[in-house]
Every structure is written in structure tokens, then in C-alpha cells.
């Protein structure tokens, strides 16, 4: 009985901790957009992150209600070959900027949970290494868009 109470208490504390994950206070997101491809093809998502803090912050990934899977990727070109690989994190330097942009770092979104169309906004929860998060709205753009648009 005593252990059960303790378990409840610990679980409760853990849950409180989870729901109150700190907001990444020094990070500002801009130019957040994603490129929609037809059908259920994976989409690439891009964002510019600006860090106004004195410490570097590492983006570890993201989650979204609209896509079951979100992975942090990097495209690279080597000897004319184009490759894509998973990366653990992208560092946003202190008082600096990290850019997730086409042909570089991007979030790969797969298994959409509902149809997303151009103009829609997809909320993503960016997750950082220090445990903080940042809710960011990504605008869905057509396949042949070059950037976030206006």
C-alpha cells in the first residue's frame, strides 16, 4: 500500500514535469514552412532558429499531431552524389542562428494523420537538448514552392 502510494506520487511528479516542459525562452523560430508532396510521400520541413541566449542550444527533433513520424535529417552532396542521413541534433550557437533549409538540414515528416493542403498550418513542437520545447506553426506550401512565401 505504501509502495503504491509512492508510485502514484512519483508518477504524478513525472507527469507534472512532462506537461510543464519549459518553453525554450531564448529561441525564436521564423520562416517555418513545409513542402507538401502528393499522396502520402514524405514532406520536408524548414525553419530558421535564432538563439538570443548566452548558451548554445541543440535542436534534437520535433513532434506533431499531423505526422506520426518526424525525423531530423541532413542532405549532403559529395562528388556529385546526393545523400540524406539522420542527424542527432542541430546546434543553434549562442547569439547565433541555425537554418534548416532545402538541400541541408530539414525535418522529414512521414505518415500524415490527416490530409494537409497548401495554406494549412501545421503545429510542431520543436524539442531541444536541454529539455525545453518550442511550439511552432509551419505553413504548408505546394510542392513547387521555393520558400516559406510571404
Amino acid at each position: 500500500m505504501k509502495t503504491q502510494a509512492l508510485l502514484f506520487l512519483v508518477t504524478g511528479l513525472l507527469l507534472t514535469g512532462a506537461t510543464h516542459a519549459t518553453e525554450a525562452e531564448h529561441i525564436r523560430a521564423s520562416h517555418a514552412w513545409l513542402r507538401l508532396l502528393p499522396g502520402d510521400l514524405p514532406a520536408g520541413a524548414y525553419v530558421t532558429l535564432k538563439n538570443s541566449g548566452d548558451q548554445p542550444v541543440a535542436l534534437k527533433g520535433a513532434s506533431s499531431d499531423a505526422y506520426a513520424d518526424v525525423m531530423l535529417h541532413q542532405s549532403s552532396s559529395d562528388g556529385g552524389m546526393s545523400r540524406m542521413a539522420m542527424v542527432d541534433s542541430v546546434t543553434v550557437p549562442a547569439h547565433g542562428t541555425a537554418t534548416l533549409a532545402p538541400a541541408g538540414y530539414h525535418l522529414m515528416l512521414t505518415k500524415s494523420t490527416h490530409p494537409v493542403k497548401p495554406g494549412d498550418t501545421v503545429r510542431m513542437n520543436l524539442k531541444f537538448a536541454d529539455g525545453s520545447t518550442l511550439a511552432t506553426d509551419f505553413v504548408a506550401r505546394p510542392a513547387n514552392a521555393m520558400d516559406a512565401g510571404s
Binding site: 502528393p38 499522396g39 552532396s77 538541400a103 510542392a143 513547387n144 521555393m146
Partner: protein
Amino acid sequence: MKLRLPNCLVLLLLLLTVVTLAGCHREEKLPFRLTDVSGHMPELDFKLTDDHGKPVTGADYRGKVVVLYFGYTHCPDVCPLTMAQLHVVMQRLGPLADKTRILFVSVDPTRDTPPVMHAYVNAFDPRAVGLTGDPRDIEALSKRYRSAYTREPDGKDGNYEVSHSSAMYVFDSKGAARVLATPADSQDDLVHDLHLLLDNGNPP
């Protein structure tokens, strides 16, 4: 002694004629800004299936200036970026774009069926054609232009990536290989070179 000089001249003339004749078999030299591959790569030739499910060959695109690009639809970043850039290039060509075709060849024929390819290419540009087919035929086309691709190991959910050459090959309206472009090249240069082929190329 008197005869030797004219003989020499005749020989020289003959040599000049041969050189000039050989020159006639080559394509007209154009001031391309991108890598000129005229005479160094074979003409456009393949046997594949277009995005309407119709069997097509390289000869079906004679009369059009062709931009050939290898990629796959499950590629979320570089392939759509290149296709979006080509769409902008087509827009900049204006009415001349109708005499141009983007041939997007899948290096992932297992997943890229004609219907998937059709939806994909049309999301970018009405002048884009999706080509897929027998893996051996795709490999043959890729090897013909010294292009390469490798299927990477499957991920946790059976999904996989395909590493591939990012070059674009430009052919004139007679099917001759003329220009090699990479995604890093400037869009202005590609538009410039396509203009050369469309304006000076083969008058319709």
C-alpha cells in the same frame, strides 16, 4: 621541285576539307555557360514507361529540348528542390517552355509506379514527365550518362533512401547531349543555355 609545292598545297587543302567535313557532323558550337558536353556523351536513348503508363523511347522526345534528371519521389528534400527550381526555369522560359521537357527518371522503380510518378511530376510543372520502368532499363540509362545511384539500408519502418547523382543533362531537339548542370549551378546560366538551344537549336 616545281611540282612539290602545289602537291603540298593539295594535301593541305585535302586535310582542310576533311577537317571541315568532320566539323559538319558535329553540333554547332554554342557559347554555353554551363559544362559543354557536346560530342562527349551519347544521344538520348532509353526504353521506359511514362507517367501515363505508356511505353516510351528517347526518340519520342525528338523535337523537344530535354532536361534529364534522376531522382525518386520518396526523397523529401533535394529532389523536390531541384524539380521546383526547374519549374522556375520553365516559367522564365515563357512560351519556349512548351518546346522543353523535364524528364524525371525514377531510381526507385519499386515504389515509383506510373500513377505515383504522374501525381508527383504534375505537382511541379505541366512540362515534366515521369519515367519509370524495368530496373535494368533504368540502370542502363543511368550508366549511359555515367550517373549512379545506391539504395541505402532500410530504416526502422522499412522505409529507405536512395543516394543518387544530382546532375541534370540537357539534350538538344535532335537528342544530342549538350550541357551538364548541377543543382549548385546558377539558374540564370541554365535559362541562358536553354535559350541558346531553343532559339538557335532546331527551328521547328
